[in-house]
């Protein structure tokens, strides 16, 4: 099967390329370059990792997990609390992984036998409830509520092999050594994760997952323990979410419940859908694209205000963030309505989608 990019893809690519060039001309190349730095930097890696997990849920198994932020949060807190209470860094990583897996079991057991919608409702509710619990005074002794936990990542940065200086690439963009260390590890983990998913999805195990996504009754009628596979998928994907959360926490050197709002989950959804749900490289491609577009959009909006082309009364700096969320919502809506197979998904596959 030859895969020619469809006209929509070509048009979209052309629009983006022209838009980016125009942005560069109007607001300076630095707008573009700083967006690239974010896209291939820590943010790109964090979201890629989280998206690998969500892709396993949503893209391969068809599970509607809308509490991915909770998986990220328990991963991050597993690490932070362990170190905070005197445990070692690697023990903390292990605790984070176990916590994310446990959350998967906890959410999966009551819901995975029911209609898909129930999982959606329960996961989003659970993610909000967990966040509220973590920030409540009740859990303050463990989570330190809104003030969060700091200083748990020193062991990680102590391993930093780079010289303490700024590393410049092609003279275009630069990372400090500590950031570069985190970026290296982040992308390395994301690549390992991608390799694991690649192994999984081309195995008979992955075949069962896809059959569940297509029609779980059919899978059941062929002797597949659908509930068990869904649970496995939820747990494994949740662990990737937890790893993403840890990476996020190490980046900030702080965990705070309010870094894990439901909107975080939806960002990861956009990443998965951008890259193409149910594709091995989708999460990585999607994450880089997502952060590039998000940052360029921000650059354009602040550029507009800075040059006085748009009044600050209309577009306050607070609004810039909110407008991006609006665009995220719009994107989610339009993509799911017209191109659920992702930007690079084949048109042929979309035509099959008349379910």
């Amino acid at each position: 099967m030859t895969r020619l990019p469809s006209r929509a893809v070509l048009v979209a690519t052309a629009v983006v390329v022209v838009g980016v060039l125009l942005t560069g001309v109007l607001f300076g190349m630095s707008t573009i370059l700083s967006a690239v730095v974010v896209a291939i930097g820590v943010n790109g890696a964090v979201y890629a990792l989280a998206a690998i997990g969500l892709n396993l849920h949503f893209g391969y198994t068809g599970l509607l997990n809308f509490g991915h932020a909770a998986f990220m949060m328990v991963g991050a807190y597993g690490l932070a609390v362990t170190v905070d209470k005197g445990g070692g860094f690697w023990v903390g990583v292990l605790v984070g992984v176990v916590a994310a897996a446990a959350l998967g079991l906890l959410l999966g057991f009551p819901t995975l036998r029911l209609r898909a919608d129930y999982l959606a409702i329960v996961t989003i509710a659970a993610s909000e409830i967990l966040r509220l619990l973590f920030r409540s005074s009740y859990f303050d002794p463990v989570t330190r509520s809104v003030f969060g936990i700091q200083g748990f990542a020193n062991a990680f940065y102590d391993l930093n092999p780079y010289q303490p200086r700024t590393y410049s690439f092609l003279g275009l963009f630069a990372f400090r050594d500590r950031t570069l260390w985190l970026v290296t590890v982040g992308w390395a983990v994301a690549l390992v994760g991608t390799a694991v998913v690649w192994l999984l999805v081309r195995s008979p195990w992955g075949r069962v997952l896809r059959s569940i996504r297509e029609d779980e009754d059919a899978a059941r009628s062929l002797g597949k323990n659908v509930f068990g596979y869904k649970l496995q998928s939820l747990v494994v994907g949740g662990i990737f979410g937890g790893l993403g959360g840890m990476l996020l926490a190490i980046d900030f050197q702080n965990v705070n419940p309010d870094a894990f709002l439901p909107i975080l989950t939806f960002f990861v959804y956009v990443v998965v859908i951008l890259g193409g749900p149910g594709t091995v490289w989708g999460p990585i491609v999607g994450s880089v694209m997502f952060w590039f577009l998000i940052e360029v959009t921000r650059g354009i909006m602040s550029g507009l205000v800075a040059r006085g082309w748009v009044s600050g009364a209309i577009l306050s700096s607070q609004d810039v963030a909110a407008v991006r969320f609006v665009l995220v919502g719009l994107f989610l809506l339009v993509m799911m309505a017209y191109r659920p197979q992702g930007v690079f998904g084949s048109r042929e596959e979309m035509l099959l989608d008349a379910r």
């Binding site: 959606a120 963030a321 919502g329 719009l330």
Partner: protein
């Protein structure tokens, strides 16, 4: 997303500053760029509590600080009666003294009005918050608990009836179309916000009002294009569309810029009409056509989430992150009816909500349309084969659901305040209620909503206030484990 505006390179000193500032950054995600500029000490709330004659120690009493219903901090009063809470950032907070944490026989003076206080804190401010305590009637603990339980039941019925009103639409839309509409919360917010603007509780700068009006007019007008009669000439159709867009834009502008100010009651009526229109628009302009294009339910659910984000943050852009009260019925004197202490406004809202529920119940059982609605929700194929116009029934369900959601929003706005994410907060409670009652049934949604409201409020007799929402969730999980079809739902196939 949080790292916006942060420099990517971070020398040690900057890193330390960052660590110090991060709670601030995260607590106000959206304000990140502005908040980062400040580097002062965090603001602090403090106070000293003493019993009237200083004979009873107040040690162990609990103080809670909340913002937009989210807990921000808490403190336990020390042996000297002092407490202190460091806040993450300047802003408006609600400080509450947890009443049952007070020693027996001690109570807050006029507790129903003064046990909670709204304070605005400036950057780096140390602000004292005072609570006046008095000797209560020397009642036994059990009597106090009972009294509290009654009062909380009443407030639970109030919250529950609002949840019930808003979730009827959510449940029936699910029943008739199979869609779990995550944007239902935004219908609630839109209703409350519309009434707020009409009531003059908030106005935005003319430039912002104009821009928003244009966006709204185009969004509403675009689907109208191919709805005009085919018989019209092309010019007439274009003119009609343009006129429709212009009228919409003008109305939206008048409302947003505060050029029209209405009393809350007519404002609420308009808000309900707007809610009905929003429901109509969602079905006729978005979900209906998509369903007919055979887009699956999973995709539709994700689409409704996209719509929810779009609307929620759109509202945030327009109205900002603060909450605003309506301008009418703001100042209320507390009244006592037997063991119940409340305000006339709260009682009126509760009574009205219950009346609305009864009326809706009658409409659903006594009218042809209502019966048809329940029939379609119960079994679509069967209803269709017995001659029900399913498409029309679905549209009516959306319209009615939107109107009820808006009405619930206005009620919630009267009881609390109107904020950009109020509907999303309610949505989780609605889900709990709808699943408890039985997804897809109207009366299940009512019963479940009421029950969730009561459970949430009454649980605070025994459990900490900050575990309120957790209780709603616990109810949800228990129901899913043991009776997934809900109280009034019918057993379907279970994997």
């Amino acid at each position: 997303m949080v790292a916006d505006g942060l420099p990517r390179s971070r020398p040690a000193a900057a890193a330390r500053t960052l660590i110090a500032m991060l709670p601030v950054v995260m607590a106000c995600l959206l304000l990140a760029p502005t908040a980062l500029a400040q580097q002062e000490d965090p603001p602090v709330l403090f106070g000293t509590l003493r019993s009237p004659d200083r004979e009873v120690s107040i040690e162990g009493a609990r103080i809670l600080v909340e913002q937009d219903d989210d807990e921000v901090g808490a403190a336990t009063v020390g042996s000297d009666g002092r407490w202190e809470i460091t806040l993450p950032e300047p802003g408006t907070y609600t400080v509450t003294i947890v009443r049952d944490s007070l020693p027996d026989g001690i109570q807050v003076r006029e507790a129903d009005r003064f046990a909670s206080k709204e304070v605005e804190v400036q950057p780096a401010e140390r602000r004292a918050v005072l609570f006046a305590l008095e000797r209560g009637e020397s009642s036994t603990v059990s009597r106090q608990t009972w009294r509290r339980a009654v009062t909380l039941t009443v407030s639970g019925i109030q919250l529950g009836s609002i949840i019930a009103i808003t979730s009827i639409g959510l449940s029936l839309i699910f029943g008739t179309t199979g869609l779990v509409n995550f944007a239902h919360g935004e219908m609630v917010t839109l209703g409350a916000v519309t009434a707020l603007f009409l009531n003059g509780g908030l106005r935005v700068p003319a430039s912002m009002a104009a821009l928003t009006a244009i966006v709204i007019a185009l969004a509403v007008g675009a689907p109208a294009v191919d709805r005009l009669p085919r018989a019209w000439s092309r010019g007439a159709r274009a003119g009609g569309t343009a006129g429709f867009i212009a009228v919409n834009g003008a109305v939206a502008f008048l409302i947003l810029s505060g050029s029209v100010t209405l009393h809350l009651i007519p404002a609420a009526a308009v808000a309900v009409a707007v809610g009905a229109a929003v429901g109509f628009g969602m079905e006729a302009g978005l979900f209906g056509p998509l369903r007919r294009r055979r887009v699956g339910n999973v995709a539709l659910l994700v689409i409704s989430i996209g719509l929810s984000i779009l609307l929620r943050y759109g509202i945030l852009v327009v109205m900002g992150g603060q909450s605003y009260p309506y301008r009418d019925y703001t100042i209320q004197r507390g009244i006592n009816l037997g063991p119940i202490s409340s305000t006339p406004k709260d009682l009126a809202v509760t009574a009205l909500s219950l009346v609305v529920l009864v009326v809706v119940g009658l409409l659903l059982t006594r009218t042809r349309l209502g019966t048809a609605m329940r029939a379609v929700a119960d079994n679509r194929e069967l209803a269709e084969s017995s001659g029900v116009d399913v498409r029309r029934v679905i549209l009516v369900t959306w319209v009615a659901g939107g109107a009820l959601a808006a009405l619930g929003g206005v009620f919630q706005g009267m009881v609390q305040a109107v904020g950009w994410s109020m509907g999303f907060g309610l949505l989780l409670l609605m889900f709990a209620g709808v699943i408890l009652g039985g997804l897809g049934t109207a009366f299940g949604a009512m019963a479940g909503g009421l029950l969730v409201g009561i459970v949430v409020q009454v649980s605070t007799v025994w459990f900490s206030v900050d575990l309120k929402l957790v209780m709603a969730f616990a109810v949800l999980i228990v129901v899913l484990l043991f009776r997934p079809q809900g109280l009034l739902g019918r057993r379907e196939r279970i994997g």
